[in-house]
Subunit: 256 residues, 2 copies
DNA sequence: CAGTGGTCTAGACCACCAA
DNA sequence: TGGTGGTCTAGACCACTGC
C-alpha cells in the first residue's frame, strides 16, 4: 500500500516476474478519470469537478489528483482555466479550430475554408480500410469525399471513412448544413471525440480525377496525407486520405 | 516575495500595467538552469547536480527545482534517469539517433543510412538564407550538400546551410569521416546543440539535377522539406532543404 | 548500503474569476 | 467574498542504481 495513514482503497497492482507493474497512484487516478471521460460522465465543454472534490472522491490528496490532471492536460484531453475550473477539451472551441490540420498559407492569414461535399455514401469496408479502422472487411462504413477551398482556390481533396455503427444516421445534408469543424460536429451529433491522430505523408502525382477537382494538371505534385484519428483508448474512428495542393500552402511541423 | 519563511533571494518581477509579469519561482529556476546549459557549465551527456544540490544552490525547496527540471525534461533538454541522476540531453545517444528525421520506411526496419557528401564549400549568404538564419546577407556560411541512401536506394538529397562563424573549420573530410548523426558531430566538434526545429513541407517535382542524384525521372513528385533548427534561446543555427523520395518511405507525424 | 529520482501527503498562500 | 486552479514548502517513504 502507499504511504499515507489512511490508505486509499485503490488497487495495488500485483507484481509478477515478467512485469513488475508498479503503478503510481496518480496513474490510477488518471485512468479512473479517463474512464469517466470515456463513459460520458462529463461531456466535451463541461466543467469537471474541482480538484478538491475529485481528491475526496478518490480518497487521495489534492496533489495526487493534480498530477493526474496535469497529464490529461498535457495530452489535450482536458483544459485548465485558473479561477474557473477544469474543462473537458472539445474541438468546437473558437480560435482553436482545425487542431489537426497542419496546412498553412505561405503568407498571410488563413481564410475560412469553403467546403463542398462531393460524395457521401454508405458502403462495405474494403480489406485495407477495415484493417486500418479495426473493422472486419465488409463491415459498414461511411465514405465522405469533399473539397476545401481557400480564397476560391480548391486546395484540399479528401476521402473520409468512418465506421458505420457509431456514425449511424450520418447524412450529406447534416454534414453540408453544419458550420464549424467536422470533429466538433462528430462530438455534438455522435458523441465521438477524436483525441489524437497519426499522419503518413507522401508526395504523389495528381490523378486525372484529383486534378480535375483541384484545378491542376494531371501529374502535378501533391501532398498525400493519410490520417488515422483515434478516440479514447486508442480506438481508431476515422481514416482520412487527403491530397493537398502546396503551391500556396505548406504543411507545418514542429520538432523537439 | 514568496511564501516561505526564508525567502529566496531571487528577483520578484515588478508588475506593470501592460504586463502583470508574475513569474513563478520554478520558472526563474528553469531560466537559471537554462543559462547554465547554454553557458556550457554542464555539457551534453553530463550528469547535472542532484535536485537536492540545485535546491540548496538556488535556496528553494526540492519540489520547486523538480518542477523546473520537469519542464526541461518535457522540452527534451534534459533526461532523467531514476537512481542515476539528471543528464544533459545529447544527439549522440545510441538508439535515439536522427531525432529530427521523420522519414520512415513503409515496411520493415530502417537500414543504416549510407551517406555521400556531394559538396561542401564556404560562401556568402544569399538574402534569403541570411534572413532565415538571422544573418546579414553576405555573411559567411557553409553549404553542405549530401545524399542519404537506404539499402542502396538514394532517398534523401539535402542542402545544409550553417552560419560560418560558429562552424569555423568545418571541412568535408571531417564530415565524411564522422560516423553517427550530424547533430552529434556538431555537439562534439563545435559545441553547438540543436534543441528544436521547424519544418515546412511541400510536394515538388524533381529537377533534372535532383532527379539524377536520386535516381528518378525529372518531374517525379518529391517531398520538399525546409527545416530551421534552433539552439538554446531560439537562435537559428541551421537551414536545411531536403528532397525526400517517398516511394518506399513516408513522413510520419503524430498529432494531439 | 548510500544516493538518486519518483511518489504522496498536508498545509499555506497567491492569482484569477464570478457573483 | 468564496471558490478554483497555481505555487511553494517540508517531510516521509518508495524504486532504482551502483558500490
Amino acid at each position: 500500500m502507499n504511504q499515507n495513514t489512511q490508505p486509499p482503497d485503490l488497487v495495488e497492482p500485483v507484481g509478477t516476474a515478467a512485469t513488475p507493474a508498479f503503478s503510481p497512484l496518480y496513474q490510477q487516478i488518471k485512468t479512473l478519470i479517463l474512464q469517466s471521460l470515456q463513459g460520458g460522465e462529463w461531456k466535451p465543454g463541461d466543467v469537471m469537478p474541482s480538484e478538491q472534490d475529485l481528491a475526496a472522491r478518490f480518497r487521495v490528496s489534492q496533489g495526487t489528483v493534480r498530477k493526474a490532471i496535469d497529464e490529461l492536460a498535457a495530452d489535450n484531453l482536458v483544459v485548465r482555466r485558473q479561477g474557473k475550473g477544469t474543462f473537458v477539451a472539445t474541438h468546437s472551441e473558437r480560435h482553436i479550430q482545425y487542431r489537426f490540420l497542419r496546412l498553412q498559407p505561405d503568407a498571410g492569414q488563413e481564410d475560412r475554408a469553403e467546403r463542398t461535399i462531393v460524395e457521401c455514401r454508405r458502403m462495405r469496408a474494403t480489406a485495407e480500410v477495415g484493417r486500418l479502422l479495426g473493422l472486419r472487411s465488409a463491415d459498414p462504413v461511411v465514405l465522405v469525399k469533399r473539397v476545401l477551398a481557400f480564397a476560391g482556390v480548391p486546395t484540399i481533396l479528401e476521402d473520409v471513412w468512418l465506421p458505420g455503427i457509431p456514425f449511424k444516421g450520418l447524412t450529406q445534408e447534416a454534414l453540408s448544413s453544419d458550420q464549424g469543424p467536422m470533429y466538433a460536429f462528430f462530438e455534438s451529433e455522435f458523441g465521438v471525440r477524436m483525441v489524437r491522430a497519426e499522419e503518413k505523408i507522401k508526395a504523389v502525382a495528381a490523378s486525372a480525377e484529383a486534378a480535375a477537382l483541384l484545378g491542376v494538371e494531371p501529374g502535378h505534385p501533391l501532398l498525400g496525407v493519410e490520417r488515422i484519428a483515434y478516440t479514447y483508448n486508442d480506438v481508431p474512428m476515422e481514416l482520412r486520405r487527403g491530397l493537398y495542393r502546396t503551391d500556396m500552402h505548406h504543411y507545418k511541423n514542429e520538432l523537439s
